[in-house]
Symmetry: C2
Subunit: 408 residues, 2 copies
Amino acid sequence: MDQDKTDIGFSIVAEDEDGMARACRFTTEHGSVETPVFMPVGTYGVVKTLTPAELEASRAQIILGNTYHLYLRPGLEIIQGGGGLHRFINWQRPILTDSGGFQVFSLSHLGKIRDEDVTFRSHIDGSLHRISPEISMEIQRTLGSDIVMAFDECTPFPCSYEQAQESLARTHAWETRSIEYFRRMEPLYGHRQFLFGIVQGSVYPDLRQRSIDVLSELDFDGYAVGGLAVGEPKEQMFEMLERISPLLPKEKPHYLMGVGKPEDIIMGIDLGIDMFDCVLPSRNARNGTLYTHRGRVVLKQSRYKMDYTPPDENCDCYTCRNFSRAYLRHLYMNGEMTGLRLNTLHNIHFFLQLTEEARTALNTGRWTAWKTEFFEGYPVEKDHWEINQVRREERRRKHLRENPHINE
Amino acid sequence: MDQDKTDIGFSIVAEDEDGMARACRFTTEHGSVETPVFMPVGTYGVVKTLTPAELEASRAQIILGNTYHLYLRPGLEIIQGGGGLHRFINWQRPILTDSGGFQVFSLSHLGKIRDEDVTFRSHIDGSLHRISPEISMEIQRTLGSDIVMAFDECTPFPCSYEQAQESLARTHAWETRSIEYFRRMEPLYGHRQFLFGIVQGSVYPDLRQRSIDVLSELDFDGYAVGGLAVGEPKEQMFEMLERISPLLPKEKPHYLMGVGKPEDIIMGIDLGIDMFDCVLPSRNARNGTLYTHRGRVVLKQSRYKMDYTPPDENCDCYTCRNFSRAYLRHLYMNGEMTGLRLNTLHNIHFFLQLTEEARTALNTGRWTAWKTEFFEGYPVEKDHWEINQVRREERRRKHLRENPHINE
C-alpha cells in the first residue's frame, strides 16, 4: 500500500456562523477523531500516571507520543519487537507522533544543524545521534503512529527576521524531503499513516504567509502551526494565529502545537484550530493543581484542609465522583502517588470534557454563548488580556454583524 | 450501642484434616471476611499507588490503616470531619487499624515508656505526643475502623527472657486497659467496632503460653500474634508459631502481624493463621519486583527487555491482561508512575489471589495437594529452609497418619 493513496476523510461537521470556529471529523485506521480535540501527551508511550483504560474511559480520542524520547527510550528495536507503539503500549486508538525536531533543538546540547541533517547528543547518556527528515520519517514509521509530523525547524522567540527567513527555507526543504520520503514509505504494521506539515515563520506575517503557500502546494493530510507558544507574549500568539488561521487549507485539520491552558484552547478553537496538545493538565496535576470550571484548585493551600467537596461538582470523572479536596490534599501533602494519578485523571478529563463541550456548542450553534459562559465562570490566570482579547473579538464581530457592508 | 454486645460472627468453614489450616468467616458491618485473607496495607489511608476501585476489582476484602501515621497526617480532626476513615478514603469494606504502638517504638526517637503511657516525637516534625491504651482506643474510635487492635508493647529481637517477661507484664496491663476502655466506648459513626488482642512473649514458649492464657480470659474478638517477624530467623518464627497456634482460642480469628512473603503466608495458613498483612507486595512493586507463581520477575534485569509476555500468564489482573514485561520494564526504567501502579496492582492481586486459592483448596479438601503444587512451582527466595520446613512437616504428618497410635 502506497502511503500517498490514503485519505484522512476530513469533513467539517459544523461552523460558527460568526467566526472561524468549527467542528470537524477525520478518520484513521485506529478510529475517527472528532474535533476540536485535546490530545493528552504520552511522551514515553504513557500519559504520566494513567493507564490506557482510564484514557478511554475519559473519552480520549487520540494521544501524542514524542519521537525523540521514544527513539532514545526504550528504543526502536524494543517497540518494533512489541509490534509497534499501539501494541507495545496497549492503546488501540489513534496516535500522533511529533518529528523529534523540537526536542532535538530544545533538549540537545549539541544540536549541530546542517542542511543535510542534525547531529545531537542524547539528554540521557550523551551518546551521539543523527536525525534528518528521512530518519524522522523512518522512526515514525517504526513507531507506527497514525499521524506523522514532518521534520521542521522550530524557531525560538525572539528571532530576527533574517534568522526566521533562513530557518524557514530550511524548514521548507526538510518538509519537502519529509513528504517525498513519506510517500515512498511502506507502512510497517498494516495500518495507514498520515502526514501533517508544520507552518513556521516566527512572528512575521509575510513569512507565515509564504510558509502556508509552500506547504499547501505539498498537500499534507493536515497542517500544524509551529513556532508559537515558544515564549512570545500570548497576545502576539493570538494575533499571529488570527492572521494565519484563515490562510490554512480549509479542508484539512488545523493543529496548534503545544497549546495550552483551558482559555488558550478555547481562544484557539475560536480562531479555527481543531487540534491541541499540552503537558499542562498532567504536569500541573503532579504539582497539585486541579482545573475546574471555576478556576484552579491549588491543593497545597490550607483552605482545602477540611473541604469535603469534590474538585469540580459538575465533573463526572472517577476522582470527582469519589474523593474530596481534603482527601486529595492529604494525598498530595503526603506525596502519595495515588493522589498524583487522581489529580491527573481529573485534569485530563477536564481538558477532554472542555473540548467535548466546545464540540457540542459548535454542533448546536451555541459557540459564542458557550464561550461567553465559560469565560464568565472561569477566572483566567494571572494576566487578564485573554479576557480582553475575547471581549475585543466579540465587539469586533458584533460590529461586523451590525455593519455587514464592511468587508473582513 | 455498647461495644461489648457485638459479635464478630466467627465460623470455621473448612479445616484441613491433617493439620491446622482452616478456612473461616467473620462479619463486620462493612461486610464479611473470608479467611485465609491477605490485608493490603494503606498506611496513610491509601494503598500506595492504587485506588479503592482497583482494590475492590482485585477482591480485597479488608485493608489495614496505620493509626500512628493517620494520627499525625492528616490528623484526627480532618478524618472525623470527613465522616471517619471509611468515608474520607472512600473505602466501604472493612478496615483494621493497628494500635500505633509498634510505630511509636520503631519510628519514634524518644519513645519514653512508662506504665501509664508513652511519650513520643513525631517522625515528621519532632512534635511531642502521648499515647496510652486509652488514647489508642480513642484514636481508633475516631478513625472508625471495623477492627481495633489492643495497645501492646512489641518486643524487639533479640530480647532477653527478663526483658520479655517485664514487657509482657506491661503488655497485659495495657491490653486489659484497652479492652476495659473499649467496652465503655460508644462507636462514633454508627457501625460496630471489634477489638483484637495481641499475644506477645518473644521467642519464649512459656511466656507465649502465659500470654495466651491471660488474653483468652479477656475474651477479645480475635487474636493476633505479635513480636514475630521482627528480625528473628524465620525458622524460629515458624517453630514459635507452631507452638502458639494450637493454643489460640479456636473460635476466634488468628492474625499474624506483618507477614509476609508468599511462602510465609502459605506456611502461616498451614499453621492455623487466618489473617495476614504486609507492605511487601506494594513496596517491592515500587522497586520493580513482580510476584508470580513461578517466582519473582525483577524488571531491571535486561533479560526482560524484549520479553513481550505478561508478568504471569495465569493472572487475570489488569496489568497481566494488557501489558508485557518489556513494557513494564520500560516504564520502570523510566521512573514512570504508571509502571509503579501497574506493578503494585499485579502484586496485590497476586497476594489476594494466593489466599483465594488457599481458601478454595481448603474448602475442597485439597490443602496439602495445593500447597505442594505451589512449592513445586515457586522458587523460594534465597535460603531454602522454608521448603525444608514444608517437607519436614509433611514427613511428620505422613508418619503420624501411618502411626495413629502416636499421640501428637
